[in-house]
């Protein structure tokens, strides 16, 4: 019923392609994050799903119903979805209860049914007793919850959250994050969460769609995104991945292969199909790199920075034979390394990026 299906959605503003052939399927009750840097098209996508803009090509279906296509456009007020806006968009001239009740009033729900549902919605976000307050007299976190209650009181089939935590301080973010997760578990509503913060997306979402330049680069579970990035952009964007030029020496049938990186041979994970011998790119992460004894097999790195991060040091450096390639890894305290020193780094774990996305 509340499935969201986006097929080939394209939207251009003059010559700029804000959405470029976006295809995405969100299952009933799923929590999906749309992740990307600002300007990647995620807000344009949200406005398309909400119905504020019309597509140039492609189609959006909510449940079985086509809501957006070139020929057909269901206006936002008839889509029966909910949005939590980044600015919360609470109406300053109405009380908390009136804000929450608005969607019910509009659709013809009357007291006592309306009053009961408003009360329930406020209880759900733990704001009982705030009904008669004005939004101006609430804290940021409380406003956030009012916005959530307002959006959920009409029991929408689909809820869109537009960077809902962007305006909150760090402490509040963490607690609201937990709240969203609890909330999703309790209501089972399909949720689309727009964010540029990957920690948020990883913590909350069942699946994440990584967007860049109007395209969906990869749509997968957080763990898969981290472990098996589909291309170099995703690899670099998620978890500060390092992309190394490597040569695949041998492919094993079990999803691993032998690769040669800067003269050192090591074993890496790879897709069961589609990886062939020859040049490739691999994604490695700080956790998969380790400093070893000089002379042991590994990559020679010249350190360019030693930064204390509480309990451990972050070591930054470049590959000595290819100074354009930057590496970083963590070393436990104590650490005697100095800037400019030369160390050997072993690659314990890595992922060969599928050849289709070489770069």
């Amino acid at each position: 019923m509340a499935r969201l299906t986006i097929t080939g959605l394209t939207k251009a503003f003059a010559a700029f392609r804000a959405l470029d052939d976006v295809t995405l399927e969100v299952g009933d009750g799923e929590f999906v994050a749309i992740l990307g840097p600002s300007g990647c098209g995620k807000t344009t996508l949200l406005r398309q799903v909400a119905g504020f803009d019309r597509p140039d090509a492609g189609r959006i279906e909510i449940g079985e119903r086509v809501v957006s296509s070139v020929a057909r456009h269901v206006p936002p007020e008839e889509r029966r979805i909910g949005i939590v806006f980044q600015s919360y968009a609470l109406w300053p001239h109405m009380s908390v209860a009136d804000n929450v009740a608005y969607g019910l009033t509009v659709t013809g729900v009357r007291d006592p049914e309306r009053a009961r549902r408003v009360k329930d919605a406020l209880a759900l976000v733990e704001l009982d007793g705030f009904a008669s307050r004005r939004p101006a007299n609430l804290s940021g976190g409380q406003r956030q919850r009012v916005a959530l209650a307002r959006c959920l009181v009409t029991e929408p089939s689909l809820v869109l959250l537009d960077e809902p935590l962007a305006n909150l301080d760090v402490h509040l973010r963490a607690s609201m994050e937990r709240e969203f997760a609890r909330f999703h578990a309790r209501t089972g509503t399909t949720m689309i969460y727009i964010t540029h913060d990957q920690a948020e997306a990883m913590a909350l979402a069942d699946r994440i769609a990584v967007m860049d330049k109007g395209r969906v680069l990869q749509y997968a579970t957080p763990s898969l995104l981290y472990r098996e990035p589909a291309d170099a952009t995703v690899a670099r964007f998620i978890g500060e991945g390092i992309v190394l030029p490597v040569t695949v020496a041998a492919v094993h049938g079990d999803g691993t292969c032998d690769i040669v990186a800067f003269g050192a041979t090591t074993r890496m994970r790879c897709a069961p199909r589609g990886v062939e011998r020859g040049p490739a790119s691999a994604c490695v992460r700080a956790a998969g790199l380790r400093i070893v004894e000089p002379g042991a097999p590994g990559v020679t790195m010249r350190t360019t920075g030693v930064i204390y991060q509480g309990g451990h040091f972050r070591i930054e450096g470049v590959v000595e034979s290819a100074p354009a390639i930057a590496l970083h890894l963590h070393v436990e305290e104590p650490c005697a390394l100095a800037e400019g020193s030369r160390v050997t780094v072993a690659v314990d774990d890595g992922w060969v990026i599928p050849a289709a996305a070489l770069g």
Partner: protein
């Protein structure tokens, strides 16, 4: 609903859009078209006779010449006063700035004909003030204000706030760094003003000049009080006299005269538009203001000069007017023995036409303000948020009746409503409704501007949230948008009320018995020599205006900056 999504929503959109387009067409495009048509097709037959007769008449050209003389003279004076005051108030650290701005801008919101009478009372042999002080010139001495110079003086004072406001908005938008960079480069404040501020202020200054020129050109009250006694006619007073003397028979001629003054005004409007690039002259987006130059020991002198200016140009004339309103008859000096409230008693309680005029002016100003808000709120919605191209084109037309001289709108309305309306068969001519129509047409632009500013300051997601909640356009307008733009709309309504309440130009052409306005009654008192009654009526209207302006203190903090000219 599943078969035809959004049908009702789209219907509301289109219905409102076309209704607004039709309303604006009726308010501005149709009357102006009718006026131009009358000039070339008098009585429905194509003929250039009316044009030829008007253009051959020497009176036409002397009035046009006079109009240009007083408009140019008044503009020069207004630019001098307004420009210097704007520089002093904006760029220096004078104290009590808000109070001064309030007082300096006030004449703009008062009735020009009342201001003119106040000035008349400062000079001349019959001035009650001069008599009281014992310095009145001997009887028979002509009042020096009954002259082109007098008209220029009062026009210049009346409209110097226009230049002040335009320039002040421009100065506020001036990036602070430009001044600081020059100071850091070692320039003295005087050099900075000459080499940085003045050159950058050329566009707003020219816009202010153009606006001021059009206002001086179209003003009726001041040349009517100061010019008619000396038979110094300008175009608006000529049109008034022609129409008053000959009645509707002279319509073709006055239509041509109206087109003539409209064309002269267009030159000013085009210049102003080009300079401001259609920016609202009262709003400014700059949040950081240029740091004020410290005047140090010169500060008391500058402050003294500013307050002396407003004492001479506002307070002294008002004192003269109040003095006149307290004497029993023209020529009697004011003493403790002669002072009387009889004039007030007369205009308030005994004179039936004054009584009607209070009711008429009050109710018409209020109804016009409410109607304009009702039109402006949805209109601004389509202009600002929907960026409707149709309405954008249409909105250019809404500016015309406000920008063009009032006589143009008045004559156009007569032509449009002289005959009974088709289908319904009702005649609006010689009723109060024709005046109300002109007020709504003429002041729509005045009310639209603050509402547009209000929308610009509003976060559109507030509307989108209501849309997502399922509210269609009408409901969103009523429950979410209107309450949020209400403060700005109230400011616009107040501006309209003040302007309509003090209006004379249009009602002088359109009034009839039973449909008098305060301006008309004031004017006929003055024409009939009942100066003390006119003064009392004038003082009462000033009191109402000032009280309303002061009442805006209640709206503090809820208004977009710059929508009310007298609020700094």
């Amino acid at each position: 609903m599943a078969n035809a999504p959004g049908v009702r929503g789209r219907f509301e959109d289109y219905a409102l859009l076309w209704l607004l387009t039709a309303v604006i067409a009726v308010l501005s495009a149709v009357p102006l078209a009718r006026l131009v048509l009358e000039a070339v097709r008098p009585g429905g037959v194509f003929s250039l006779d009316a044009i030829r007769r008007v253009l051959e008449s020497a009176t036409t050209w002397s009035a046009t010449g006079h109009s240009l003389v007083v408009a140019v003279g008044g503009t020069l004076l207004a630019v001098t006063i307004g420009g210097l005051v704007a520089l002093a108030v904006t760029l220096t650290d004078i104290r009590a700035r808000n109070a001064f701005v309030f007082v300096f801008v006030m004449p703009l919101l008062l009735a020009p004909q009342v201001v003119a009478l106040a000035w008349i009372q400062m000079f001349g042999p019959s001035s009650a003030l001069l008599k009281m002080l014992g310095i009145a010139p001997p009887l028979g001495t002509p009042n020096p204000l009954y002259s082109p110079g007098g008209i220029v003086l009062v026009l210049g004072v009346q409209y110097s706030p226009l230049v002040f406001l335009t320039l002040r908005a421009g100065l506020r938008a001036l990036p602070q760094e430009l001044i600081e960079a020059a100071l850091a480069g070692g320039a003295r404040p005087r050099t900075v003003v000459r080499s940085i501020v003045v050159p950058l202020m050329t566009p707003p200054l020219l816009a202010g000049v153009a606006l001021c020129f059009v206002s001086c050109l179209g003003n009726f009250g001041i040349p009517a009080l100061l010019g008619i006694p000396g038979n110094y006619l300008v175009l608006p007073t000529l049109i008034y006299q022609r129409l008053a003397g000959l009645g509707p028979d002279a319509l073709s001629q006055v239509a041509v005269l109206s087109v003539l003054i409209g064309l002269i005004a267009m030159v000013g409007i085009v210049v102003q538009d080009a300079m401001l690039a259609r920016r609202d002259f009262r709003t400014t987006t700059a949040t950081v203001e240029a740091r004020a130059f410290e005047l140090k020991r010169w500060r008391p002198f500058v402050e003294g000069a500013l307050w002396t200016l407003s004492f001479l140009t506002l307070m002294l004339p008002l004192v003269a007017l109040v003095t006149m309103s307290l004497v029993p008859a023209l020529g009697v000096p004011l003493t403790a023995k002669t002072a009387t409230l009889d004039s007030y008693r007369f205009v308030l309680f005994m004179h039936a036409a004054s009584h009607r005029a209070f009711v008429n002016s009050f109710s018409m100003a209020a109804v016009a303000a409410v109607m304009i808000v009702v039109i402006a709120v949805p209109l601004a919605y389509f202009l600002v948020w929907r960026r409707s191209r149709l309405l954008h084109a249409v909105s250019l037309v809404t500016e015309a009746p406000y920008a063009l001289p009032g006589v143009v709108v008045g004559i156009a309305a007569i032509l449009l409503f002289l005959k009974p309306l088709p289908i319904v068969g009702i005649t609006l001519y010689n009723t109060i409704w024709i005046i109300l129509f002109c007020y709504v047409a003429r002041f729509l632009a005045l009310g639209l501007r603050p509402v547009v500013s209000g929308y610009h300051q509003l976060d559109r997601t507030l509307e989108e949230a209501a849309q997502i909640a399922g509210a269609r356009l009408f409901r969103r307008l009523a429950t979410v948008i209107l309450p949020l733009v209400a403060p700005a709309a109230a400011a616009g309504a107040l501006l309209i009320f003040l302007t309509a309440f003090n209006e004379l130009t249009v009602s002088a052409l359109l009034w009839s018995t039973g449909a008098e306005t305060l301006g008309v009654v004031f004017f006929s008192f003055q024409q009939g020599g009942d100066t003390n009654y006119a003064s009392a009526l004038g003082v009462l209207t000033i009191c109402v205006s000032v009280l309303l302006m002061l009442s805006t203190i209640l709206l503090v903090g809820r208004l977009p900056r710059g929508v009310l000219p007298w609020r700094d």
